[in-house]
Symmetry: C2
Subunit: 387 residues, 2 copies
């Protein structure tokens, strides 16, 4: 299988599987137990937190709380944000958020008691910074904005937004879903994004295990837990610590950090750019969304007008090439990308969109083979492919 769907999920590093196996066989203890403490399981968890801090560029005093993944982290952050905005405050988000942010906000909005304003997206795939600037006032209590979009890969103008928000509404809680960015590009929240209070991340997006992610809590903000109970993790997220997965995410974070130090993301960018040049040279009318904007180096959201992405993705899967038509959550949906539609693309265009998302080990040969297969499929096209 040529795997080019790394924004949906990644293959765990072999060292991640090894670490997890160790903590499922010889060191399977409950971290809260006496013998678990004697065996140093608390240190394993602390070391994982340190690895996450280094990978995301946050300070030692910033708290890392492990959850079951970014969907839970987003639900938690939004629940807390809405609680803070209840009454006279309001909430700001964008139209291109992950469903775990958007639908949680919509749920609270429907229940009443909180007002949410949704910033639109521009043609280049970024939320409309101008519109955001015009809206901010001192009653803004919670903001949730994605760091980099999972379909287009477009890196959002979060730094400018967060700075302006902090200035005009100092007490506002600022959350970002950085799930697609952490591990893929060098990030330093401490240097560039000091105003961001809450950061969601997910292990399986950077070659760690599924079922593990977290919420980074910065700037000493106080939030309530969403999942209460045994008091683990400073009472902020109860439940038996999933030490095998935490050990796994720790290894993945360390390895990704090392790859970023070696500028591996620049090689990934070169592979992606090579793909885009080739696809545009063979299909002269090919679309590439957000191509002019700052983007994740591994992502290309492209379309060959007149083709149907559903058919192509299935035909490619049958040929052992894994791509997707966008967000994995909605991969089973018959609707094309909502984000592309909000960016102003028409139905024929959005129906043709395919997402390629490379990993650190993706080669030029692999993406060239994708171009070849697309040419083949389109050349042999019946009405199934050409609409």
């Amino acid at each position: 299988m040529i795997y080019l769907d790394n924004n949906a999920t990644t293959k765990p590093f072999p060292e991640v599987v090894e670490a997890m196996t160790e903590f499922m066989t010889s060191r399977f203890w409950n971290a809260s137990s006496a013998y678990g403490q004697l065996d140093g399981l608390e240190e394993v968890v602390e070391s994982a937190k340190a690895a996450i801090r280094r990978l995301s560029g946050v300070a030692p005093e910033d708290e890392v709380i492990f959850t079951s993944g970014a969907t839970e982290s987003n639900a938690w952050a939004v629940t807390e944000g809405v609680r803070k905005a209840m009454g006279s405050g309001w909430v700001l988000s964008s139209q291109i958020e992950h469903p775990s942010v958007r639908e949680t906000l919509e749920h609270f909005q429907e229940q009443g008691g909180v007002a949410v304003r949704w910033i639109p997206v521009t043609r280049d795939g970024a939320f409309d910074l101008g519109e955001l600037m015009a809206l901010i006032d001192s009653n803004l209590r919670f903001v949730s904005l994605v760091f980099a979009h999972n379909e287009t890969g477009v890196i959002q103008p979060l730094r400018e937004a967060a700075a302006a928000i902090r200035e005009r509404s100092p007490g506002c809680l600022i959350h970002t879903d950085a799930t697609q960015a952490i591990g893929k590009i060098p990030i330093s929240f401490s240097n560039d994004l000091s105003e961001v209070d809450l950061i969601s991340f997910s292990g399986h997006k950077f070659h760690g295990p599924k079922g593990t992610g977290g919420l980074i809590i910065r700037n000493r903000v106080l939030i309530q837990p969403m999942i209460r109970g045994g008091g683990q993790q400073n009472d902020l997220r109860s439940g038996t610590l999933n030490v095998p997965a935490i050990a796994g995410i720790s290894v993945a974070a360390d390895k990704c950090w090392e790859l970023l130090q070696k500028k591996r993301h620049e090689s990934v960018r070169a592979v992606r750019d090579h793909f885009e040049e080739r696809i545009c040279s063979f299909f002269t009318d090919a679309l590439i969304l957000g191509r002019q904007a700052p983007r994740l180096p591994n992502t290309s959201f492209f379309g060959i007008p007149g083709t149907d992405a559903d058919d192509l993705v299935l035909a490619l899967a049958a040929k052992e090439i894994a791509v997707s038509k966008g967000s994995a959550c909605s991969a089973q949906s018959i609707e094309p990308s909502k984000t592309a539609s909000l960016m102003g693309y028409n139905y024929d265009e959005t129906s043709s969109l395919i997402r390629l998302s490379a990993s650190n080990s993706t080669t030029s040969d692999e993406v060239c083979l994708l171009v070849d297969k697309l040419q083949e499929l389109c050349a042999n096209a019946t009405s199934v492919v050409w609409t």
Copy 2:
């Protein structure tokens, strides 16, 4: 290590680790993707649901929703239950619930809008069925009662309670946290407990992976999600499916079911009973909580009056014997078991309590060695052990 703390967590079966490894290496795909579907990942998830249904004795039409574990499942069930009780209804629970039930209920109680009544526990470790019977009325909207207690192992009079509740308040949502029971004893909710609507379970309590459990939704009750987003699992629990862990819990459920068919729990009971006879013959004043009540066959919550459980548990851990002083959540707490205190034991008694919880592979030799070590420790006791 002689591991006698299986109510805190269990060692995954080797076949569980193998299955997880397969889905972390060659089949790591996102279950919602086109190629994930071609590879049959949806069938893997369906097969895991079937394994859970068989192990807990529920019907094919009962829905199994995977979560990150019983703590999340309990938080979800309670959140929904409270929502249904808001306004004119009230909620019933017991004083011996797991903190994830108790603290979630207390949180909503503090926020106002919902009344919770807490059934006390009797000297034998069961919630007071008489008191419960006297309280039930038609405004009771939600009940959460544990199936078997994690410290004493006492199996609660849930069947009698649920039948009475359904009769007097037909629309009441009935939840049980069956985390400690599922996989340890033969259970058929369909035969014995048809009134129970929601059942929490956790994989790592029956030799499956940590970070995976679920909520079984029965009797076609409609509940809202707690974690929203990508729409996975019929929109009831969003988030990328943790297929490796789901494949792991599936194997664990099948293996536990097979062991129960072979009546392995009866052998476990014999080992536990042998331990209790020995401990009582050597320490004639030994306490065994709930000994006269129906109990999980693997659990013994015992105490040697005058000793300090903290010291003994640590000393045993240093000798490679893992037991605990009760609930793993509070293993780091300096307070002795609240449950034992509610059962009417005094501080000296509760301070001495140690929990032994055996697994399917625990031998008589192992528990005898525990008795020997306890004798040794008590014989050599300084003021550290003898208070």
